[in-house]
Each structure stands twice: as C-alpha cells, then as structure tokens.
C-alpha cells in the first residue's frame, strides 16, 4: 500500500514537473511570453487600451476646444507634442485618437471575421457550386488593387467613421474567407473527420467539434495582424480626406492636416504618425509571436 502511494505521488509530482502535463493554452502562453517582441507588442497594446478607456482622465486638454493664445507652439513640457494653429494640444488629440483607431481596427476585423469566417467555413466544408461562386466573388474583390476597394466603398457610403469601419471591414473579408476556407479544406481531409462522418455524426457536430478547433489558431493570428492593417487602411482613408472628418482627432487626419505646415510646425504630422507606426508594429510583433507560439511544429 505504501509503495502504491509513493508511486501515485511520484507520478503526480512527475506530472507537475513535466511540460507535457501543461494544457495546450499554457504551453502556447509560455512560448508567447518567451518571445520578447511579442511580449513588448502585447504590453504596448495593453497600454493603448488603458489610454483609450481613460482618455478623458489622461489627456491634459480638451481635444476639440480651441485655445487661440496657445497656437503654433513647438513641443514643450506644457504641450508634449506641441499645438496646432488653433491652439489645440496635439498630445490630447493623439490620446483621444487612440479610441478611434482601436475602434476602426477591432470593428473592421469583427465585420470581416463574422462574414468572411462564416462564408469561408461554409464554402470550405460543403464545396461544390457555392464554393466556386464564392471563390469567384473573392477574386473580384481581390482584383481591386490595394486601398482602392476601401476608397470605392467609402465613396458610395459617404465619409465618416462608421462608413470607414464598414468599408475597411468589407474590403478585409477576402483575407479571412481564404484563411478559414483553407483551414477547413485541410481539416476536412483528416482521418478523424472521415471517421466522424462514417459513425454518423451530423455536419453541425463535425464542424463545431472537429473542424472549428483547427481553424481557431490561424484565425487568431490573422485577426491580430489584421487589426494593425485595418488601422493603417483607416488612417490612410482619413489622410486622403474620405474618412473621418474634422475636427475629430483621428491620427491619419492629423497627419494630413499637418502636411501643409511641414516647414513651420513639423510636429503636427510627426507625432500622430509615430502613434500609428508603433500601434501597427506592436500588432505585427504580437501576431508574429502568436503564429510562432501556435505552430504545432514547435511542440
């Protein structure tokens, strides 16, 4: 009896010590945290979310109110990122702009994932004529080079924040559809899916129990990377004058407004651009880190 107890204890200690006893999520998190770039990116994004939530508390000035006596000031301790010609504090506008950029990124990805993911799942699993038609529609959307699809949709819907989110979301659908469809096609060929069909599992059960778990990892990676891309596209649309309208403090719009004052107020375009660059970089580092952490070949 004592010997059996020791064996059970020994085995349980061995389970606690061995990495193989960790859950898949714990292993993934451990690999992610070992990646310095991904950790930095994640921390920066966390900070960004905090700034967005507490913007009214953190920002020293109102982002829209005009202060005529404070106009055209270079960066200083009083105005960390300077002021524009209306005396508006650039740092306060950048802080409030965080809310807009994160909204554009997250909502666009949500739109793309919900439509592209569902349609991609259907096309990949059921195949046939529906799949061919969906692939043709994706090819048509992808034939619009670069940012032109987003710009065209905004031209139809009209300028404004909500329309930018919809436009960027719709133009992002092909990416999500392709990734989900590809993952479903791959998972469909697995032996366990075939076995599930043979024993009479319903399509719904096969999709939710066997197919979807294989789709989650690439979708998480793509979603993370695409939030950065969506923020970049949204800022570009606003920079070009078709997106968010003044006086809303949006980063791309701020860079555009500062363009005419490069020689006299260089800070107006520089600091909002730094904010966009750091945000997109952080998302890319985190997305790359997630891809490495979720890659089964590393197990």
């Amino acid at each position: 009896m004592a010997g059996e107890m020791v064996e059970v204890t020994g085995r349980s200690q061995w389970f606690e010590a061995s990495p193989k006893s960790e859950s898949h999520s714990a292993q993934t998190l451990r690999r992610l945290l070992r990646n310095r770039g991904a950790t930095l990116g994640g921390l920066f994004l966390l900070a960004l979310v905090v700034v967005a939530i507490f913007a009214p508390v953190i920002a020293p000035y109102d982002p829209i109110e005009i202060y005529p006596t404070e106009g055209r000031q270079a960066p200083s301790l009083k105005h960390l990122a300077g002021t524009d010609k209306f005396g508006r504090d650039a740092m306060s506008r950048i802080i409030f702009g965080t809310r807009i950029s994160l909204r554009v990124g997250l909502i666009s990805v949500a739109i793309a994932l919900s439509i592209g993911g569902v349609v991609g799942l259907y096309a990949g699993y059921y195949g046939g004529r529906a799949d061919r038609l969906i692939c043709m529609l994706v090819n048509i959307m992808l034939a619009f080079p670069g940012i032109l699809l987003s710009l065209s949709i905004v031209a139809v819907l009209g300028p404004g924040l909500e329309n930018v989110m919809v436009a960027v979301g719709i133009s992002s659908i092909p990416e999500f559809l392709r990734v989900v469809r590809g993952s479903v096609l791959s998972a469909k060929e697995e032996v366990y899916v075939e076995s599930a069909k043979v024993v009479g599992c319903s399509n719904r059960r096969i999709i939710f129990r066997h197919i979807l778990p294989n789709v989650v990892a690439p979708v998480i990676v793509l979603s993370t990377l695409w939030v950065g891309t969506a923020i970049l596209i949204g800022a570009s649309v606003s920079f070009l004058g078709l997106g968010v309208q003044p006086p809303t403090p949006e980063w791309g719009l701020m860079v555009s407004d500062g363009r005419n004052y490069l020689t006299t107020m260089w800070w107006l375009s520089t600091f909002p651009g730094v904010a966009i660059a750091l945000t997109v970089l952080a998302m890319n580092l985190l997305g790359d880190g997630l891809r490495d952490a979720l890659d089964p070949r590393l197990k």
Binding site: F144, P145, L148, L151, F239, G252, L262
Partner: protein, 309 residues
C-alpha cells in the same frame, strides 16, 4: 503550357466581368443616384421635374441590364464617358496621367525587389546573427509604417532639412527617388521575409548539402542552387504586392503632388465624379489582373510542376 495559359485567361475573364459590374453598380449605389452627382458638380439647385427629365435623357430610367450593356460595350472600346467635373473624356484623362503612374510603379517595384532580395539573402546567409535581426527589423518597419507618414518624413529630412532632393512634383529622375523609395519600402519588407524563409528551407535540403560536399564555392551554391528555387514563391507574392503598389500610388501621388492615375482616381472620389471613378478603378483593376496573369505564366515557366497540376 498552352493549356495552362488558356486556363489562366479563362479565370481572368469572369473576374474582370465581375469588376466591371461592381464598378458599374458603384454609380447606382451612390446616395441620391447618378443624376444628383451630376447636379452637385454644377452647384446650382435644380427642380425635381428637371432632375426627372435629366434621368430620362441620360438613360438612367432604363433597366439596369440595359444601362450595364451600354456601359460595358463602351468600356470595352476604351470609352468611359466624360468627367462630370472637367467635362473631358475620362480615357484621355487616364492616358495623360498614365506615364506618371507607370514610372512610379516600375521604380517602386525595382526598389522593392533590390532591397527585398538583398535583405532576404543576407539575412538567410547570416541566420541568427545581428545582421539577420537588423534586416528583419528593417523589413518589419517597412511594412508596418504608414506610407503617407514615411513619405512626409522623407520630405522633411531629405528635402527640407538636408536639401538633397526636390520636394514634390513631376520631372526628372531626381523627383522620382523619394516617391519610389517610399512606395517600394513596404513591398521590400514582405519580399525580404519571403526570400529569407524560402532560402532557409532550401539551405537545409539534401541537394545543397551535396553541392557543398562536392566542393562548390558558396557563391555558386547560393546563386545556382538555392536562389532560383527560393525565388519561385517570391514571384507570386511580388505579383500580389504589385496590387498594393498600384493602390499605394493613390497615397504617394497625393503626398508628393505627382500627377498620376491614382491621384486622378482620388480627386474623382472626393468630387463624386463617378464616370472618372469608374474609368480609373476599372483601368487599375485590369492592369493588376494582367500583371498577375503574367506572374502566373512566369511561375509556370520556372516550375514545370505547376503547368501540369
């Protein structure tokens, strides 16, 4: 090879038809409709009866498929109608702006390939060293930084403070350097990552080990055995990235005040000048699809397994 070419062309035709339908529908989905867009250009208020008469005269009361056939049969002959804003032929506006965009796109692609290939090759050959890290950091910065902001920074640094290069506009090669470099940098980043990943995979292959064991110089191993196979997926991505380059001309031409098809498209989008939007967007989409077909052909040429798939 002939069957492969025909297959690729057969795939392109419905795609381009679909793009033409989407572009045609843009005009009809615009709030207020096409006639209101024309009226907006004129600036004067017009009565409802006059608007209705205009709709009838311009054929906007005809069934949608009739209107589409009219648009399609003209577009196929290169006639996109007249601009609501300038009243010029849209085709002549595109042809006038085309050389500027072509110069920018080609120069941007050349810079992307030179930078991307160099960084990718050096990174792979110096894997896990500080050189590898530095190249990948530059690559990541290239595709993370917003092009419009990068362009503005380059103008500040090279034109305003250093005075080395002209700020904006059209003209000699000097005025192309900054715009092309800004445009090519993000594509260079993606290319560098791909080349590095491809080369690392191939460097581990048995035939590369054999080549080294036979005593071949490292440069011969890399150039003759590794690079050619590593470049095959790069060609596909460069074709796809060409779309990003074409779309990027809209931003770069605006930042550097260069005349080009992208800037014409943007001005038309801002003014809701729909015939010009239709013409420029359709034109750029056709170019992009054609470039991708050429990329597919070169892919099949380099890798015979693709032709027979």
């Amino acid at each position: 090879m002939r069957e492969y070419i025909l297959r690729q062309l057969m795939t392109a035709v419905p795609t381009l038809l679909g793009v033409s339908i989407a572009v045609f529908l843009m005009l009809h989905l615009t709030p207020g409709g096409a006639v209101e867009a024309i009226v907006l250009q004129g600036g004067a208020a017009i009565s409802a009866e006059t608007m209705a008469q205009m709709r009838e005269e311009l054929g906007f009361n005809d069934p949608l498929y009739v209107q589409y056939w009219r648009f399609f049969s003209k577009a196929i002959r290169g006639d996109f109608g007249r601009s609501y804003r300038t009243h010029q032929s849209v085709t002549s506006m595109i042809l006038k702006a085309l050389p500027g965009t072509a110069q920018l796109a080609v120069a941007g692609l050349a810079i992307a390939l030179v930078l991307g290939l160099s960084m990718g090759i050096i990174s792979a050959l110096r894997h896990n060293t500080w050189i590898d890290t530095a190249c990948m950091v530059v690559a990541m910065l290239g595709w993370s930084l917003p092009q419009f902001w990068l362009g503005i920074l380059f103008i500040l640094l090279f034109s305003v403070y250093l005075g080395w290069l002209p700020i904006t506009g059209q003209g000699g090669p000097g005025r192309l350097v900054l715009p092309a470099f800004t445009l090519g940098l993000s594509t260079a980043g993606v290319t560098a990552r791909l080349v590095r990943a491809g080369m690392l995979e191939i460097l581990r292959m048995d035939y590369v080990r054999t080549a080294r064991a036979k005593g071949l110089r490292e440069s011969v191993v890399v150039l003759r055995h590794v690079l050619r196979n590593a470049l095959i997926p790069v060609i596909t991505v460069v074709g796809l990235q060409f779309g990003r380059l074409l779309g990027g001309t809209v931003v770069i031409e605006t930042v550097f005040a260069r005349q080009g098809v992208g800037r014409v498209a943007l001005q038309a989008l801002l003014a809701r000048d729909m015939p010009t939007v239709q013409g420029t967007v359709l034109f750029l989409a056709v170019i992009y699809v054609m470039v991708n077909i050429l990329v597919d052909f070169s892919y099949a040429f380099l890798d015979p397994r693709i032709r027979y798939a």
